[in-house]
């Protein structure tokens, strides 16, 4: 959920409200904010399922270090969503295992 009003922070430094998709679903987010933040704001917590155990993973460190929040972004797997800025029209997909590259999806 987005914080509508905060007792200390007067405003968040956000870009324009834009559209992107996650697993084909149209969602809104602010340009330039991390993809992970936009997903969390839309209530999406699961970013990927792991290779061996197929267990769900989400945001863990939020600073690009742990690489747990990776997803397929614009056709590339293993993209750290917590440090990747959101752009209008971005295609985000839940990643299964190591994911697939656009080129491999024939």
């Amino acid at each position: 959920m987005r914080i509508k009003e905060h007792p200390i922070i007067d405003s968040y430094d956000k870009g324009a409200l834009i559209e992107f998709t996650c697993d084909g679903k149209k969602l809104n987010g602010y340009e330039g904010e991390p993809v992970a933040a936009a997903l969390e704001a839309n209530g999406i917590k699961i970013h990927r399922y792991t290779r061996k155990r197929h267990s769900p993973r989400g945001i863990f460190c939020a600073i690009g270090r742990c690489t747990d929040c990776v997803m397929e972004v614009d056709g590339k797997p293993n993209v750290r969503t917590c440090v990747t800025p959101l752009k209008a029209g971005m295609t985000v997909k839940t990643q299964y295992g190591d994911g697939q590259r656009e080129a491999e999806k024939e």
Partner: protein, 390 residues
């Protein structure tokens, strides 16, 4: 101080040392392995994992073929650990007529030993290997070559040998081989400990140069820093070994990472580098040349780069075998960056020799005496970079 005794003292816990220890232990010999660092921390755990027969110097090709045919295919079962060996072939890529000529020479050498290597050109390359760029105009393919996981193989030998009762002592640096009368019998370590055996097998990597000098054996070699890059995992693209005439070599490992090394040409001038640091140039160079030959790799993320010393012998093939002038001493040194593939065989050869038997494969051209007189030198020429490693 009294010495610590075993039947055989092995110096070095790399793939050769551990293979030797394993084979000896299987025969019921009591073995102690002395390792100055940790298990297999030299070239054995730091290489491209190639198990290659093609592109080899004729002097060592039989050894490599012996390893590829008689040891690697059964190794996982033998050790009870999956070493991820696959006889998946080796693709060597070239870009110009000179490379084709080099490949033809390789084909000739291979054919002498009944190894089939063929040359593929033009569209046939891209049809069979669709990920190869048009920059590649000629390629060599050897089906008998393959890949394995250096980490699993090296540590697998260690685990299996330890299970058979081999006593490994790590952090124990051998500094001197001591002769009793004519024979090499004892090993003095930096700690002051002395180990004693009926035979001493030295498989020490570059840092063994000084050790061998303590019994008057001087192998003309130098250390050379080689670097490798490792990518994130990706779905399986190919399972064979790859090498390029621009110098890179490597594989997509079983887990999906691409592991590729290369030289940037500066390696011989980096001998004073701290081992812990790779260089700022080479990884970038590897990425660049690799990206040209296999463009899709450019999208993958590099997660790690690493470096290691290789023991580069003057004629780029190792010294392997019994040192006649120092009875009781058996040596493998100077593998020059391509010792992983034959490693298990070298260990077996040394264990056979140490037991007083014959080598199961011809290693006569790898003898230490080859440096004694200049006229004995088959060739001291600088080999082309491509295909010399892995």
């Amino acid at each position: 101080m009294s010495s610590i005794k075993a039947d055989v003292i092995v110096i070095g816990s790399g793939i050769v040392g551990s293979s030797a220890a394993y084979n000896l232990a299987k025969e019921g010999r009591k073995v102690i392995v002395l390792e100055k660092d940790m298990i297999g921390n030299g070239g054995s755990c730091r290489n491209g994992g190639g198990v290659r027969i093609s592109g080899r110097d004729p002097r060592e090709i039989q050894l490599c073929a012996y390893a590829a045919k008689n040891i690697w295919p059964q190794l996982s079962d033998e050790l009870g650990i999956d070493v991820e060996y696959k006889k998946s072939g080796y693709l060597f890529m070239g870009y110009e007529p000179a490379h084709k000529k080099m490949m033809q020479e390789r084909v000739e050498v291979c054919s002498k030993y009944n190894i089939k290597m063929k040359i593929i050109e033009g569209d046939d390359i891209y049809k069979r290997f669709p990920y190869v760029s048009k920059h590649v105009t000629v390629a060599g393919w050897t089906q008998d070559d393959g890949v394995a996981n250096p980490l699993k193989a090296t540590l697998g030998y260690y685990i299996a040998a330890r299970r058979l009762g081999v006593r490994y002592i790590t952090g124990e640096e051998a500094v001197k081989i001591i002769k009793i009368k004519d024979d090499a019998r004892q090993v003095l370590c930096a700690s002051g400990n002395i180990y004693e055996g009926d035979a001493i097998i030295a498989a020490p990597g570059y840092f063994g140069k000084d050790l061998l000098k303590t019994v008057g054996i001087d192998v003309p070699m130098q250390k050379k820093l080689n670097e490798i890059i490792v990518t994130e995992r990706a779905p399986k693209m190919f399972d064979h070994m790859i090498g390029g005439a621009s110098g890179h070599y490597g594989q997509q490992t079983e887990n999906g990472s691409f592991v590729f090394g290369s030289g940037s040409g500066r390696e011989l001038f980096l001998f004073d580098k701290n081992e812990k640091t790779s260089t700022e140039q080479s990884p970038s160079f590897i990425c660049n040349t690799l990206g040209i030959d296999i463009p899709f790799i450019k999208e993958l993320k590099v997660v790690r780069t690493w470096s290691g010393w290789l023991d580069r012998c003057i004629d780029l093939v190792p010294v392997i075998g019994k040192i006649e002038e120092v009875p009781g001493l058996y040596v493998s040194i100077g593998s020059s960056g391509h010792g992983f593939g034959p490693g298990p065989a070298v260990g077996r050869v040394l264990s056979e020799l140490a037991c007083g038997r014959q080598s199961p494969v011809d290693i006569s051209k790898l003898h230490y005496d080859r440096f004694d007189y200049v006229y004995k030198q088959d060739r001291y020429k600088e080999a082309t970079v491509g295909g010399s490693f892995g």
